[in-house]
């Protein structure tokens, strides 16, 4: 009879008719077509879901070249499925087809023995290695910037984690015999654009210093989570640079060029550079006055995310909820993830999940029992093995890079009785 007393709370004459019931439910609104000039308030970017070859429905940023964002719910696990892995290309002419009997990986330039390797050469003639590593776009979360900056307006889903299997880059360089006095290795894939030959709109080129520790750990990968790479993620092989932002992870890698002088191409000299300041910070005012000295972007600062609950539905008061998410750092292992529900006054440690290696997503979870109905802001922050903790301050630079501010999620707790 308790149910009836609830019904008794409604005036009889105001019972809605059948057709009007939908109005009574909290109906999801279609997300707005763009955000700004304020920050994007959503976890993901605001594009529609689209279906691209070899891909689950992902969030569209642009269709030519293809840029797709991974929806939040895929980050509940440590490994991002290949078909849900985000996609980011720079130039419009990206491969629809690779003819494997013809395709060769070339190692050339300042080497003693230039190499021309087929996919089966890579698989059979070199020792396979596997590394689990996060691939994150330099501009992940760019839509949080204030003031907003031009560029791909990513939410948080321009990232993914996979186990990459292939050949150590340094083994390939050793096979080619790097000449003394060489300084960098340059990488080129199969994407091209209609711009003037050699310009940034014609060819996408990235380089790493031969002395860079990241180059020592880099892998030329032909498997992603144990499967061939989707075309949109770089079939047949891509460069994997654990700890570094994805700009260096050349897709459809086809040329490795050893250079005797530093790479001066657009994508090294002008693009993907960050102010040489703490956290890569600068201000619009400083930019107007000429800007800070810049360096090529490199390692990913520590980040963590709350994936569930996502704020889309209420939590019953007094019920035990498991908060779940991921954390990672390009500087090494995650040693601590903490959560707060009281405006960062107190923090408590979350339980870390399985360790898949220093450059992997580390899952975490924490029990949470909100006793009192109301709105709560859940915050999550991670600490890496170098002792770096996520700050609560935003970052700003004109490229929209290096965002790693503490993530916050509003959740609503409702009455149970």
């Amino acid at each position: 009879m308790k149910l009836l007393s609830a019904a008794g709370g409604l005036a009889i004459g105001k019972w809605p008719h059948a057709g009007g019931f939908a109005q009574q439910l909290p109906v999801d609104k279609e997300v707005e077509p763009f955000t700004g000039p304020g920050p994007n308030p959503h976890w993901n970017s605001v594009g529609p879901y689209v279906s691209e070859p070899q891909k689950a429905p992902l969030i569209l940023l642009t269709d030519r070249p293809v840029q797709l964002e991974t929806p939040r719910s895929y980050f509940q696990s440590a490994f991002t499925p290949n078909d849900a892995f985000y996609v980011r290309w720079h130039l419009s002419d990206i491969p629809n087809r690779v003819d494997l009997p013809e395709w060769r990986l070339r190692i050339e330039g300042s080497v003693n023995k230039p190499q021309t390797l087929s996919l089966s050469d890579l698989v059979e003639k070199f020792k396979p290695v596997s590394v689990t590593a996060v691939n994150q776009c330099s501009g992940n979360s760019r839509s949080r910037f204030q003031p907003r900056v031009a560029g791909g307006q990513w939410g948080n889903g321009a990232m993914g984690n996979a186990m990459w299997t292939g050949v150590l880059l340094r083994e390939l360089l050793d096979a080619a015999g790097v000449k003394e006095g060489s300084v960098q290795a340059q990488f080129q894939g199969l994407e091209t654009g209609p711009g003037p030959k050699g310009s940034g709109s014609n060819v996408f080129l990235k380089s790493l210093e031969l002395s860079d520790s990241a180059l020592q750990e880099a892998v030329v990968a032909y498997l992603m989570n144990g499967e061939p790479l989707p075309m949109l993620n770089g079939f047949p092989v891509r460069l994997v640079v654990p700890g570094y932002f994805a700009t260096y992870w050349m897709k459809c890698l086809t040329w490795i060029r050893v250079l005797s002088t530093p790479d001066e191409n657009f994508w090294m000299k002008t693009g993907y550079r960050v102010p040489d300041t703490p956290r890569g910070n600068t201000t619009p005012e400083e930019m107007k006055a000429g800007g800070a000295k810049t360096v090529p972007i490199s390692r990913m600062p520590v980040r963590s995310f709350l994936i569930s609950p996502d704020g889309s539905s209420k939590i019953p008061a007094g019920m035990n909820v498991t908060l779940r998410g991921i954390a990672f750092s390009g500087y090494g292992k995650i040693v601590k993830v903490e959560i707060s529900d009281d405006g960062a006054k107190t923090w408590r440690a979350a339980q870390l999940g399985e360790d898949h290696g220093a450059y992997s997503f580390r899952t975490w979870e924490a029990r949470w029992t909100p006793k009192i109905p109301g709105s709560y802001t859940l915050e999550v922050r991670a600490t890496d093995e170098k002792g770096k903790v996520q700050p609560d301050e935003p970052v700003w630079n004109p490229g929209g890079y290096l965002w790693n501010k503490i993530e916050k999620q509003e959740v609503v707790v409702g009455k149970v009785s």
Partner: protein, 137 residues
């Protein structure tokens, strides 16, 4: 559950004529909204052969509707030569000076062959429809 309701509802002295949607004191069910939100067409896989060509279907185009106005044709024509005009609609509303700088970057840095008169039209079109003061779509 249903059986219990038959007993409970008359006891409350209420007449419920729920067509399609059922509303009871303790729950509501059967409400369906518009199918427009989040709908997505399925695709069929292409025919495959056993040769060494590894291919995928053409990448689909999703051409956005640009705001109507003077300069739209030039914007579509010149900008879409290298990239989808979603590069425009994806942006947040940007200040007029930023649009000027973006178009000039395309010409000077990326070598876009846009005649001066068209570049001016494109810049004023973007400034007319895609700034914080005037962006609508």
């Amino acid at each position: 559950m249903r059986k219990r309701l038959r007993v409970l509802v008359p006891a409350a002295g209420l007449m419920l004529t729920a067509a399609g949607t059922a509303l009871f004191a303790q729950f509501q069910s059967g409400s369906y909204g518009s199918t427009k939100t989040s709908s997505l067409e399925q695709t069929v896989h292409p025919q495959l052969s056993r040769d060494g060509n590894f291919s995928v279907a053409p990448f689909p185009s999703f051409v956005p509707e640009l705001a109507e106005g003077e300069g739209r044709a030039e914007t579509q024509g010149f900008c879409a030569a290298c990239h989808s005009t979603r590069y425009i609609t994806m942006q947040p509303p940007l200040p007029a000076a930023t649009w000027d700088a973006e178009v000039n970057k395309m010409i000077k840095t990326f070598g876009a062959p846009i005649p001066d008169v068209s570049a001016k039209k494109i810049i004023s079109y973007l400034q007319e429809h895609y700034t914080p003061e005037n962006r609508k779509q």
